[in-house]
Symmetry: C2
């Protein structure tokens, strides 16, 4: 048997992070390095993730997640946990259907194929998304809500969840699919996610920069901080999955906030940097996502609840403001 | 623009039935021949379907539904409707994961790829299944129930539905996914569906043959007749899909019957041919399927409601008893 972590505590095992070059993957890797319990770690992404300091060997590999040979290298025999963050984000998957299908759907199928070839079934922590649901602004989704996505990214994520759930039932792997809220405040630059503006309307003013707001101020979003997202991924790596039963999808306890409530966390001078520029294409995608969930099951399963906007802002100022300023030469 | 049928009436167009050699495909083809409105028909299956009489040209092709070249031949430019019945059934998909994935998932992906290459998006009528839901014996599922399948066949069907729904939203095709109940009384022989016994406990005694009953008599099943299944497929070929909106899955109005209610349709001498032989493997699969649905949306969409056991039995005696007796040389 490959090493399997007991709930809460990491065993000395190999872990692979697919999409390990992204901002959540790097933050999770840093957290695992600080825990100092793994025997080794692989970070895998389209471009090789940057080398990092850790008290165990770290391999940084480049490859396509839908390529079986690349995955065989990325997920060696004996891997205890695969954290599967590799994805083409919402607006990019909407703009390029083939790319989204290849990475978001066929990539996950390739992960399943690799995992079932391992000597023992690994834990697979998969990031699904609030975008896999419909419902829109008026929704307060209970935990047994169906996924009726209005965008290709969400459809690919929901289909991948079904296939991971079935692979789990068959004993090929042991999946936990976390439907992440919109993660704010993302460091770095705006990206191709339709929800990119939700971070930008806070991050850019904090950097002293103007930024467009494509939706009205009463628009509500289901959000979490990078700190909580990493906390949830880490919890899913070692939680007891027996209570999940057949249902491997988790709606974690984010918070529902309006744009106005987000902007209230800024100073008046910072708020003045946010320009109202309605964008129907962005509104059409994010307007379909549910603005709130009950998230009761996740709380019972030990997923920590998100604090308020103050905690989210403080986390960004402590963790990411300086690095973002340096990266963007501001 | 390729021919697109107006609601209710077939246009003179080409129609392709994938899985056209199966019993539902052949019954639908016979119905289309009787309507005498198509310009041509293709029947496609793993083995070439038998030739049939029709007032329009009928091609019978053999091929694998997951093979793009075979599908390009089966679905020519100008095809107005693709009826996608090709599937590996429940117990077979449970016994052979790779086969189920290839046909039920990758086959549907290949259908999407072929349809998006056509000059105009065709109607796609897809048979999904009650097996794509969980819930079990106590369930009465409303129309917005989520699909949490406890078997690979159901997971593959539910994932395929998501991908067809997204392809519809993108304008690649125009899908209607019908979650068929267990169809009784199937003609011919027992097959590899876990639900095969639901037909066998009626068909075999009507043929004067003994048959095993793997579940208790109080066990309830959501069923429809072959006549209604064909009626629903035919309705989906020409219905107005605008009222479906984003949600392309339909739970048609079957009926919930217990084994005891089914057996009550037989004579005492016929009932004596049914042997109680509990089968845990069969019970584990069909026991997870919901035994009843509200099916309100489908009624509003014009899907005809199933009659009672008398109608189901009468349909079999009129349509299929003699042919089954001849086929099996009884």
């Amino acid at each position: 048997m490959a090493a399997r972590p007991a709930a809460g505590k990491l065993a000395p095992m190999h872990v692979t992070i697919l999409g390990g070059g992204g901002f959540l993957g790097r933050k999770l890797a840093a957290r695992l390095a600080a825990e100092a319990r793994l025997s080794s770690l692989t970070l895998f992404d389209v471009a090789a993730p940057p080398a990092m300091e850790a008290p165990f060997p770290v391999r940084c590999l480049a490859g396509d997640v839908s390529d079986p040979a690349a995955l065989a290298a990325a997920i060696p025999d004996g891997t205890g946990v695969v954290v599967h963050l590799a994805a083409v984000v919402s607006a990019a998957a909407e703009a390029d259907y083939d790319l989204g299908q290849r990475v978001n759907l066929h990539g996950t199928l390739a992960v399943i194929e690799r995992c079932r070839a391992l000597p023992a079934p690994p834990r697979v922590v998969f990031t699904s998304s609030v975008a896999s649901f419909g419902g829109g602004q008026d929704a307060l989704l209970p935990d047994d809500s169906r996924q009726l996505p209005g965008n290709s990214y969400g459809a690919q994520k929901a289909a991948a969840e079904l296939l991971l759930q079935d692979a789990t039932r068959r004993g090929m792997l042991d999946a936990v699919s976390i439907r992440l809220p919109t993660v704010i405040i993302r460091p770095g630059r705006p990206n191709k996610a339709a929800s990119s503006f939700v971070s930008a309307i806070l991050r850019e003013p904090l950097l002293g920069l103007e930024t467009p707001l494509p939706v009205p101020e009463e628009f509500r979003v289901w959000v979490c901080s990078p700190r909580l997202a990493v906390e949830w991924l880490r919890h899913a790596m070692t939680m007891d999955t027996a209570p999940l039963g057949l249902d491997r999808g988790v709606n974690p306890p984010g918070i529902s906030v309006s744009v106005a409530e987000m902007l209230a966390a800024l100073s008046p001078a910072q708020r003045a940097l946010v320009r109202h520029e309605p964008d129907a294409a962005v509104g059409a995608i994010v307007g379909g996502w549910p603005a709130a969930f009950t998230a009761e099951r996740a709380r019972h399963l030990g997923f920590a609840p998100q604090g308020g906007m103050d905690a989210i802002l403080a986390g960004f100022l402590e963790d990411d403001l300086d690095a973002t300023r340096a990266e963007r030469a501001l």
